[in-house]
Amino acid sequence: MAPDAGSVRDTDWDGVRLHIVTGKGGTGKTTVAAALALALAGEGRRVLLAEVEGRQGISQTFDVTPLASAEVRIAHAVHGGEVFGLSVDAKAALLEYLQMYYKLGRAGGVLERFGAIDFATTIAPGVRDVLLTGKVYEAVRRRRDHRAKGPGAAPAYDAVVLDAPPTGRVVRFLNVNHEVADLARVGPIRSQANSITAMLKSPQTVVHLVTLLEEMPVQETVDTIAELRAVGMPIGGVVVNQVREEILTLDVLEAAARSAISRKDVAADLTRVHVRATDALVDGLLAEARDHAERVTLERDEAKAIADLGRPTYRLPSLSEGVDANGVREMAETLMAQGMA
């Protein structure tokens, strides 16, 4: 089955196979990546959700046992879709790579003893990132039937979602070619980096950014989009997370900001519904409204900065209960309704 054969809905990212999700720390990028994976797995698809920093964010989000370097099913989506989870480990990826291409055998142990594996996976600049992105690259290209060849063969996964490093490190992480270019001008690492880069920069891939309506996360989103663009990475959508419900109208917010709401009227209304309208209570409510108005004003500025980016934007409401496995499903529904998947 070709990736699009079963689809009856138009989504913003039809044809994309690799969704890379980044965002500043604390914006909820792992949760959004998880929700996106669930949303993409609708209509009976198979989706891989991968993390590369060993944080076990995926297993915690879905409340399953910690992930290892083997792909395991972590969730069912509606209509039989499945989400698989993977925590990519550089060391395991390197050993797998060596085994696959060099039939290493016992030498693996020797390399380990001399610290060569540690060297290659943690210290040699760029090599670690080539190994991590390389594993994701392999998963995107893998065929369901590994003997099948050619463009018509069904892929093992209809889509891969990568919970990528946060905005501060993501461009360097994805720009593997540049990272190893000065060091490895020839050799297998270099050619591996070339193939990965070709896929990352193809229309099959997009990088989505998760943000909150706060100064730092929005600033980092704007900066990261510029950096991604400069290195030729395809930019995806912007997901605004934890959007507060709009309760007060603009007029009321303005009045609150100017402290122009009548204390007397509010107190009278409260008394009518048998709430003891003490000074502390009324003043408290008005102070809350002032603070709220201040926040909303800041949020509007940030929302405008995001709108100015001109990217498809998705808004996820703040979940008052916090995010658990059910919350992720709710978020997935919202993303589907907004056309992200």
Partner: protein
């Protein structure tokens, strides 16, 4: 009863010489570090704050407009108690260059700085930022103690890098240090030396496997660069491990203390706890936990449920009334009160969630001194904002 983190006692204790602020990304480490530094300075201490990656406007408010790797005085602080505040932003590449320049001959230093492998390690190795943050901390401490009778600083507050894991800054120095001083790099540097004696035959066979495989993976030219790099670094061997050990000793000294910063969210608290356990394992002194950005309401006497109920009741009453009179002025006014009640309900619910997360944490870990800092309604980017955070940290 849970213990309270007494920030003023901590800042006022002359035995406190280094405060390390750590925690997950996005919880407000930098702001906390800056606020602690300012509060200490305004209470009379001579403080330097080392920040890693401050928000642009916060950096500006601290006078950090140029990234020149040197502490600069922060203007407009209250120095009536004789304190001072300097701040700096870490430049990891420059810090690394300075280490090389300080420990190698001029000629060797030049070779090292020009080496492509060195350039890559010093600007992009995942642990370099952590390593250099700790290196800089060591340097600041040396600088502070240069004249014991008149120390330039008597308190260093350091912010930790936004790492893959909050623990990287503990591990990175050791990791990089042990690599740079380690067996592998010596083998790479001088494979010929290893083959001489008989009992080294097996060893040298191993060396061959290692070099051959590394050549296969990395390409011969990269290995070449590594070898030249290592040869140039030869004079500095031992130095890196020693420096890593020194940093470690500095971090576990009784005059150093850690403040773990978390947000009132499940994941951030879990990470904070993980970090606290690790500090305990390493016998590093924990001052306590700051639970930052606690949502608070002002109208504390009204619960979320009661507020929602009242809003509904108000609507019902209104529709009853308007079927009779129908004055639009009243209805607009009521809409305001209704809005206030609904807004309060949402905020009270978030506040209650934060409160219960914090309570559960305290109940589970009664021995960890803690302080809660309320969420500010705007971004913090000036000394006034930092002072307010400082007050909150001190429990006012």
């Amino acid at each position: 009863m849970a213990s309270v983190l007494d920030v003023d006692a901590l800042l006022g204790d002359p035995q406190t010489r280094i405060i390390v602020c750590c925690g997950a990304g996005g919880v407000g480490k930098t702001t906390t570090a800056a606020a602690l530094g300012l509060r200490a300075a305004e209470s009379g201490r001579r403080v330097v704050v080392l920040t890693i990656d401050p928000a642009r406007r916060l950096a500006q408010s601290l006078g950090l407009t140029t990234l020149d790797n040197t502490p600069r005085p922060v203007k407009d602080i209250d120095d009536t108690r004789g304190g001072s505040l300097d701040a700096m932003m870490l430049d990891m590449k420059r810090t690394f260059d300075e280490v090389v320049e300080a420990h190698a001959t001029a000629e060797k230093a030049e070779q090292i700085l020009a080496n492509p492998f060195y350039q890559a390690v010093s600007s992009s190795f995942a642990g370099t930022q952590e390593y250099m943050a700790m290196e800089k901390l060591g340097q600041l401490r040396l600088e502070a103690d240069r004249d014991p009778d008149n120390p330039r600083w008597d308190l260093i507050v350091v912010d930790t890098p936004p790492s893959r894991s909050a623990l990287d800054f503990l591990d990175a120095p050791k990791r990089l240090g042990s690599f740079l001083d380690g067996r592998l790099i010596r083998i790479l540097a001088a494979p010929a030396k290893a083959g001489g004696r008989a009992y080294l035959k097996v060893f040298s066979a191993g060396v061959n496997v290692v070099t051959k495989t590394l050549t296969k993976i990395l390409g011969g030219q990269m290995l070449n660069d590594v070898q030249t790099f290592v040869a140039a670094l030869d004079t500095m061997f031992g130095g890196f491990r020693k420096r890593a050990d020194h940093t470690y000793a500095l971090l576990s000294a009784p005059t150093t203390t850690f403040i773990v910063v978390a947000a009132p969210e499940r994941d951030a608290l879990r990470e904070a706890l993980f970090f606290i356990d690790r500090l305990d394992e390493e016998k590093m002194p924990l001052a306590g936990l700051v639970v930052n950005r606690m949502y608070r309401v002002s109208a504390t006497s009204l619960s979320a449920a009661r507020a929602l109920g009242a809003a509904e009741e108000l609507g019902d009453e209104e529709s009853l009334r308007s079927s009779g009179v129908g004055s639009s002025g009243i209805s607009e006014r009521t809409a305001i009160t209704q809005g206030l009640l609904r807004m309060h309900a949402v905020q009270a619910e978030i506040a209650a969630r934060h409160e219960s997360l914090a309570k559960r944490f305290i109940a589970g870990h009664p021995g960890i001194p803690m302080v809660e800092v309320p969420a500010a309604s705007g971004d913090i980017h000036d000394l006034v904002g930092l002072r307010a955070v400082g007050d909150a940290l001190a429990g006012h």
